[in-house]
C-alpha cells in the first residue's frame, strides 16, 4: 500500500543515506569518545561554540534523525501498523534494508547510556 507520496519520499530517503550515514556515524563515534573520556554533557565544546561547526553538526545530527523517522513512517505506511514486524521492514526496503539496520546501529551508539561510556572510558584509562 504505497501511494505516490511514499514512493517519491523513498526515492529521496534511499540515496540520502550515502550522504548522511557516514557523517552521522563519524559524529556519533566522536561523541561516544567524548562521553567516555571528556565532559559527557558539554560535547565538543571547542567546535560547537563556533557557529559554522555547530550548524554543520546540527544539520548532520538532525537530518539523520529525520532519515530514520522517515524510514519508520514509510514502513508504517506500507504495513499499516505502528509496530511493523521484521518482514514488514523487509517488504518495504528489500535489498536496501542494510541501510536501515546500519542507521539503527549508529543510533544505538548515540543513545547508549552515558554511564556505560563512562565505564568504558575508565576501563581504557583515557585522560579526563
Amino acid at each position: 500500500m504505497r501511494d505516490k507520496a511514499s514512493e517519491a519520499l523513498t526515492a529521496y530517503v534511499v540515496p540520502a543515506w550515502w550522504l548522511l550515514f557516514p557523517s552521522f556515524l563519524a559524529l556519533t563515534c566522536r561523541l561516544a569518545i567524548e562521553r567516555a573520556c571528556a565532559e559527557p554533557y558539554d560535547l565538543l565544546p571547542a567546535l560547537t561554540s563556533k557557529p559554522a561547526w555547530a550548524w554543520t553538526f546540527a544539520a548532520v545530527y538532525v537530518l539523520a534523525h529525520v532519515w530514520l523517522v522517515s524510514a519508520y513512517l514509510l514502513t508504517v505506511a506500507s504495513s499499516q501498523s505502528l509496530l511493523p514486524r521484521i518482514r514488514d521492514w523487509q517488504a518495504m526496503w528489500g535489498s536496501q534494508l542494510f541501510k536501515v539496520w546500519l542507521m539503527f546501529l549508529a543510533f544505538a551508539i548515540e543513545y547508549a547510556p552515558v554511564p556505560m561510556w563512562r565505564l568504558i572510558g575508565a576501563a581504557l584509562h583515557c585522560p579526563r
Binding site: E39, D42, A58, L82
Partner: protein, 536 residues
C-alpha cells in the same frame, strides 16, 4: 512521595521518549497475553471511554487553572529571568530604552522582541505597578490560550471531544512546569498561536487572513523564531484561502512585527539587531539538541497515533493536509535546532502544543469505533501515563519551591527600606539569586535599571564582558544604595553556562570599584545595605 517525585524529576523527567518506550513495552506484553480480551475499544464502550476521558480532562484543566492562578497570586517568581521581563516592561512604559547600546553602562537588554515587554508595560501602566499585575497578565495568557484552543477545537468537532483535547493540551503544557504561565514571553506565544489556530480555521477567508496576520505579527515579534511556529497555521490558512489569503496574512504579520520599532522611539531596531547578532555567536549544545529531538519526538506522538487511530478512508488526506503535516515537521525541526542554543531547551517547543493537539483532534475526528491499529490505544495510554507522570513531577517541583519562597516576605522588606531612604536604590547580587527576584519593585520606583544579572550572564556567554561604562557608573555612585542578599559577598555570582562555566559574572575590576565606593552600612531582614562611600 515528594522525595520520589523529586528523584524521578531529576533522573527521568527529561527523557520522555525513553519513558514512553518503557511504559509501552509492558502494556504491549499485557495486551498480547490477554489478546482474546484485549484493551480494545468496542463500539459500545466508546461512550464510557469518552466519559472517563472527559472527567480526566476536566481534572487536568482545573489543575492547570488552579496552579496558574496560585502562581500569579503572589509576588515571588520561580525563574531568574521573569523579573527581568517585568522590569524591562516597566522601562518601556517609562520611556527608557528597551534595547540599550552594547557598550552602555546599563546591562539589561535581552534578545526577546519588544512585544515580550510591551504588554507588561501597558498592564503595569493601566493596573498599577506591581509584580502580581505582570504575573496575572501572563497567567491570563496561559489560561486564555486554552480557551482559544477549545474554541478552535469546538469549531471543528463536538464539545465533549473539544474539552477532552483541550485537557490533553493542558496536560502537555504542564509538562513544562510553569512555562505556559510564567512571566516570560512563552505565554504570549501560546495565546497568539492558539488565537491564530482559531482564526485561521473559522469565519470568512478574508477575515481569517487579516486576523491571522495580526496575531502572527505579534508572535513573530516576541521571538525571532516566531515564523517557525506559524508554518503549520499558514498551511491551514492556505488550504482555506489559497495563496492570496496566505500572502495577505504574511504581509500583515510583517507589518505588525516591525510596528513597535517604527512606533516607539525607545525601541531601537538597530540595537535589537545588534543583540541578536551577538546572540548568534554562541553556537549550539549537542546535548540540548538531542534533548530537543527527544521532546519533539514525544510531542509528535499524538499526531502519529491519531493518524492511525482511524481507518484509511477516514483519515484527512490530500495535498492540503499533507502540507500542514510537512509544515509542522519543518517548524519542529527549525525550533529543535534554534532551541539548542546555550540557555535554551525543549521548552521552545511549547507553542507547538496547541497545534499538535488541534491536528491530532482533526485526524481522529472520525474515530467512532475501535482504532484501526490495535497498538494505538495501548500507545495512547502509555503516552498519557508518561505525560501525567512528568507533569506531576514538574508541578510538585513548582509547588514545593514556590511554597518555600512564599513563606518569605522580602517584597515588604524592600518596600519598607525604600520608603525610609532617599536616593536611588537598586537590587544588587550576591552568590545566590532568588532574593533578587523582587527587583522590579525598585525599577518601578527608579524608572531606571542598571544591572540585570540574567542579562549579564547571557552577554558573557556571547563573549561580551562588562563594559568600562558600568564600572564607571559604580565608581561614580550612580546608585546610592545597593541591596545585596544578606550575608553574601556582593556581585560574587558565577556563570552556570557550560561554555563559561564558573567564570565570575562580574570582573575583579568591577568588584574592586564597588568595594572602593560602597560601604556596608546596615542590614534589613533579608538584605545587606551597601551605601555609596561619598555620603558617609
Amino acid at each position: 512521595m515528594l522525595g520520589a517525585l523529586e528523584f524521578f524529576h531529576l533522573r527521568f523527567a527529561g527523557r520522555p521518549l525513553l519513558l514512553f518506550a518503557c511504559a509501552l513495552l509492558p502494556l504491549l506484553v499485557a495486551r498480547r497475553i490477554r489478546a482474546h480480551r484485549a484493551i480494545r475499544l468496542s463500539s459500545t464502550s466508546t461512550q464510557s471511554w469518552e466519559n472517563y476521558a472527559l472527567a480526566a480532562a476536566g481534572l487536568v484543566l482545573a489543575a492547570f487553572a488552579i496552579v496558574a492562578v496560585w502562581y500569579a497570586s503572589d509576588s515571588h517568581f520561580f525563574d531568574n529571568a521573569e523579573p527581568s521581563v517585568v522590569a524591562i516592561g516597566w522601562l518601556f512604559h517609562a520611556g527608557q530604552p528597551v534595547y540599550h547600546l552594547v557598550d552602555s553602562a546599563e546591562r539589561y537588554s535581552h534578545i526577546y522582541g519588544p512585544f515580550a515587554f510591551i504588554p507588561h508595560g501597558l498592564a503595569l501602566a493601566t493596573f498599577g505597578a506591581g509584580i502580581v499585575v505582570a504575573k496575572t497578565l501572563s497567567a491570563s495568557a496561559g489560561v486564555g490560550s486554552l480557551a482559544l484552543e477549545y474554541g478552535a477545537l469546538r469549531w471543528r468537532g463536538d464539545p465533549v471531544r473539544a474539552v477532552i483535547f483541550t485537557g490533553v493540551c493542558a496536560l502537555l503544557l504542564l509538562l513544562f512546569r510553569n512555562y505556559s504561565f510564567w512571566t516570560r514571553p512563552d505565554p504570549f506565544e501560546l495565546v497568539m498561536v492558539s488565537g491564530c489556530l482559531w482564526l485561521a480555521n473559522v469565519g470568512p477567508g478574508d477575515f481569517s487572513a487579516v486576523a491571522t496576520g495580526l496575531l502572527s505579527g505579534v508572535l513573530w515579534n516576541v521571538k525571532f523564531t516566531g515564523p517557525l511556529y506559524s508554518l503549520p497555521i499558514l498551511a491551514m490558512l492556505h488550504a482555506r484561502t489559497g495563496w492570496r489569503g496566505t500572502l495577505t496574512a504574511v504581509g500583515i504579520a510583517l507589518l505588525v512585527a516591525i510596528t513597535p520599532f517604527a512606533a516607539f522611539s525607545n525601541v531601537s531596531f538597530a540595537n535589537y539587531a545588534e543583540w541578536l547578532r551577538l546572540s548568534a555567536r554562541t553556537g549550539l549544545l549537542l546535548s540540548t539538541l538531542r534533548q530537543n529531538l527527544e521532546w519533539a519526538g514525544f510531542l509528535g506522538l499524538p499526531v502519529l497515533l491519531s493518524y492511525y487511530a482511524v481507518g484509511p478512508a477516514l483519515r484527512p488526506s490530500g495535498s492540503e493536509w499533507r502540507n500542514v503535516l510537512v509544515a509542522l515537521m519543518a517548524g519542529l525541526i527549525g525550533i529543535v535546532v534554534a532551541g539548542a542554543k546555550p540557555g535554551a531547551g525543549p521548552y521552545h517547543l511549547i507553542p507547538f502544543i496547541p497545534i499538535i493537539v488541534f491536528v491530532s483532534a482533526r485526524q481522529s475526528a472520525g474515530l467512532l469505533s475501535p482504532p484501526a491499529d490495535p497498538v494505538v490505544p495501548v500507545a495512547a495510554l502509555a503516552f498519557l501515563f508518561v505525560a501525567g507522570l512528568i507533569a506531576l513531577a514538574q508541578q510538585a517541583e513548582l509547588v514545593t519551591t514556590m511554597a518555600e519562597r512564599r513563606s518569605l516576605n522580602e517584597a515588604d522588606d524592600v518596600e519598607t527600606f525604600a520608603e525610609t531612604h532617599r536616593g536611588r536604590i537598586e537590587m544588587g547580587y550576591g552568590t545566590t539569586e532568588s532574593l533578587t527576584f523582587v527587583r522590579p519593585i525598585l525599577v518601578f520606583r527608579n524608572n531606571s535599571y542598571l544591572i540585570d544579572q540574567p542579562a549579564v550572564r547571557e552577554q558573557q556567554l556571547q563573549g561580551l564582558d562588562l563594559p568600562r561604562a558600568t564600572t564607571d557608573a559604580i565608581a561614580s555612585c550612580r546608585v546610592k544604595y545597593w541591596l545585596i542578599p544578606k550575608g553574601e559577598e556582593p556581585f560574587s555570582g558565577l556563570n552556570g553556562y557550560a561554555a563559561v562555566f564558573r567564570r565570575p559574572l562580574f570582573p575583579e575590576e568591577f568588584r574592586r570599584a564597588f568595594h572602593a565606593t560602597y560601604r556596608h552600612v546596615e542590614t534589613t531582614a533579608y538584605y545587606d545595605v551597601w551605601s555609596c562611600g561619598a555620603i558617609q
